[in-house]
């Protein structure tokens, strides 16, 4: 096991270097003047000599491998360039948008896992009965529903028609308070900060705004967890040790909760880990539809305005997150499943 973790850790830098090379390669599709503009605050070059200055400073006329090493060096020092769309350096933009995404991820992750596991178990223990068919239809429709169509429908019904759940992150009055000096922004997550400041009115307002995007993410992702849980539970309850447990007269409830569910949860742990990473990367579409200003909104908006440097910076950040999370999931899996650990 230790050997396995060490091997994975050794491969990690290789994957990250490969990732950065690919991102750098994509940057080379831009012409030198455009690439020069990426390093200028404001993104506009005023004079020809300013352009020459930038090209010299950042070595944009050097051979490509020299440029790559320089770029890697700047990136490692946290200089990811200037984001035209966010009007600030890319790294500070990422750091300012990430808490919103983390908040949304946490509010949707818990219902996804609990709902998905519950529905998956129901489908499995009622295999081929109406509960199973219903869960199946629910899951396949959710899996096929384009996120933005579902989001637009939610907005159409619950915002435009009923005025219950507005888009955005906060109402105007709440925004004014949150950004006032009396309000301490500990985490950047509105619901958490509101509670820490003892402002329950702001907590309620933030919750009202986060409800629809969280529901949209949940519906689309329930399908995934439900399927994984259903098939893994079906697999487990056909095993011999479950038959043994039943035949020694244990109550069915006990068999399902104590013998079957823990083992059936193992694949859900993997799927859940990867799901959490996906959510942390920022749900580009959900955040764009609901005008929820997190990582996903930032990247979507940047791509829309062809602000390539922001998109590339965020992709690098997300790619790193994925690589690291994959590693964590692998290791976690090995600890959950003794068979893998013993190999």
């Amino acid at each position: 096991m230790t050997r396995y973790i060490i091997r994975r850790l050794l491969v990690l830098p290789i994957v990250l270097v490969g990732l950065s090379m690919m991102i750098f390669g994509m940057l080379q599709l831009l012409d030198p003047a455009e690439r020069a503009a990426l390093y200028v605050p404001g993104g506009v070059l005023r004079t020809q000599s300013a352009l020459q200055d930038i090209i010299r400073t950042y070595g944009l006329n050097k051979p490509i491998y020299v440029q790559y090493i320089n770029w890697l060096d700047r990136t490692l020092h946290g200089n990811l360039g200037w984001s035209v769309t966010a009007q600030q350096p890319v790294l500070s933009a990422i750091l300012s948008f990430f808490p919103a995404t983390l908040e949304l991820a946490l509010w949707s992750f818990v219902p996804i896992i609990f709902g998905g596991v519950f529905l998956g178990i129901q489908a499995a223990i009622h295999h081929d009965q109406w509960q199973d068919h219903l869960a199946r239809v629910f899951s396949i429709v959710g899996y096929s529903f384009p996120t933005f169509v579902f989001g637009l429908l939610m907005l159409m019904i619950f915002y435009a028609a009923l005025q219950w759940f507005p888009p955005g992150r906060l109402s105007n009055w709440a925004t004014a308070i949150v950004f006032s000096p009396e309000f301490h922004r500990y985490t950047g997550m509105n619901t958490v900060d509101a509670l820490l400041n003892g402002r329950f009115d702001i907590f309620a307002d933030a919750l009202r705004h986060i409800f629809l995007p969280a529901l949209t993410l949940a519906y689309v992702q329930w399908a995934l967890i439900l399927r994984v849980m259903r098939s893994s539970m079906l697999d487990v309850i056909s095993q011999d040790y479950i038959r043994t447990a039943r035949s020694k007269g244990l109550p069915e409830r006990h068999v399902l909760n104590r013998h079957a569910r823990p083992n059936a949860m193992i694949p859900v742990a993997t799927a859940g880990g990867l799901l959490l990473v996906g959510l942390l990367n920022g749900a580009v579409i959900t955040e764009t539809v609901f005008n929820y200003h997190g990582m996903g909104w930032f990247v979507g908006n940047a791509a829309l305005h062809l602000d390539a440097i922001s998109v590339l910076g965020a992709t690098l950040f997300d790619g790193m997150l994925i690589v690291i999370a994959n590693l964590v999931v692998d290791i976690m899996y090995a600890y959950l499943d003794p068979r893998i650990r013993l190999q």
Partner: protein, 328 residues
């Protein structure tokens, strides 16, 4: 995604069952006069029949598009006609049965011709990804050794990208270069989709490579490329082709998402995602302008649903575990 130890086990098992099912399918095909068993299972399953019917309905709409919505200029059939430039969307009436978007683009025309766009994108993207992924994957897996290992690391790097974000980036960089949102969007999808097929076919190639007939071919001195093309590929290609073709719905969905965000099909192009992107400007008024979302949204949902219903039933039909459960 990469979960090597688990994946290895899973992959071996998967490969073993897949090879076993392949053999079964081939055996049965010989005995039952060319109708594979899985096809029979699928035709008896109401879920897959519903999926097949949805897809056939869309195919008919695509074929009959020039009759259902005659274009003004046949040479520019994919450009949605618009009567005027008024910003306010208009509700359905006799001239525009599904209403119009902002800029007065006819939604009915866009939905009908958008079906052709969906099939075109789905077929082109799937064809290219499977061709590139399965081609590179089978070659490197067949050669084996360090080539296979290095290639698998490259695949891992590609898979480390968040898919939608990666496609979005590449499309955003490509659009100003080739001035065609449709082609840049498709290139972006292909570039980041092929690695999963490369990984998928690898297990099959490794399994087929071990069989006696490959050894036999080697013994009588058949050149390597010929063994790969004539002996290994025909036995390993089958499942990746099927899996790929069932991913059409997913690619259409992702492309629609790119269009929705503004880097796919251009303004006024008959594409469902592009039509839906108009809704973004009218979110507080969507209760009034519901037709911008409902018609193209339903078309997209049903199209993806149709493919997924077939795919779901197909995976069940091929999975021996599920049959045992069912038979019991």
């Amino acid at each position: 995604m990469s979960t090597p130890i688990v994946e290895q086990q899973g992959e071996q098992l998967q490969t073993a069952t897949r090879v076993a099912t392949d053999d079964l399918v081939i055996d049965r095909r010989l005995h039952e006069g060319h109708i594979p068993r899985w096809l029979k299972v699928m035709l008896r399953n109401p879920v897959s029949v519903a999926g097949i019917m949805i897809v056939i309905a869309f195919a008919l709409i695509a074929i009959l598009a020039p009759i259902l919505a005659p274009p003004l200029l046949p040479a520019q059939a994919y450009q949605i006609p618009h009567s005027g430039y008024e910003a306010q969307p208009k509700p359905p009436d006799t001239a525009h049965p599904f209403g119009t978007t902002q800029g007065q683009y006819d939604i009915y025309y866009g939905v009908i011709w958008g079906t052709r766009t969906a099939f075109r994108i789905g077929i082109i993207v799937t064809g290219l990804t499977v061709l590139i992924g399965a081609g590179l994957g089978s070659m490197t897996a067949f050669v084996g050794g360090w080539v296979d290992e290095v290639f698998q690391h490259i695949v891992e790097i590609f898979l480390a990208f968040p898919f939608l974000l990666a496609a979005l980036t590449l499309a955003a960089v490509l659009v100003p270069r080739i001035h065609n949102g449709l082609i840049s969007g498709m290139i972006a999808l292909v570039v980041f989709s092929w690695p999963s097929y490369a990984r998928y076919i690898r297990g099959d190639i490794l399994a087929v490579k071990q069989r006696d007939f490959v050894l036999a071919a080697r013994t009588i001195g058949v050149p390597g490329w010929r063994i790969l093309l004539h002996h290994v590929l025909p036995n390993a290609m089958y499942s990746v082709l099927v899996v790929g073709s069932l991913d059409i719905g997913t690619y259409v969905l992702t492309f629609a998402a790119l269009s929705f965000l503004g880097v796919g099909a251009g303004e006024g192009y008959a594409d469902w995602g592009q039509l839906l992107s108009y809704a973004r400007n009218w979110i507080p008024n969507l209760a009034q302008y519901w037709y911008i979302v409902v018609y193209p949204g339903t078309a997209l949902l049903l199209f993806v649903l149709g493919w997924n219903l077939i795919g779901d039933a197909f995976r069940d039909a091929l999975d021996p575990r599920m049959q045992r459960g069912r038979g019991a």
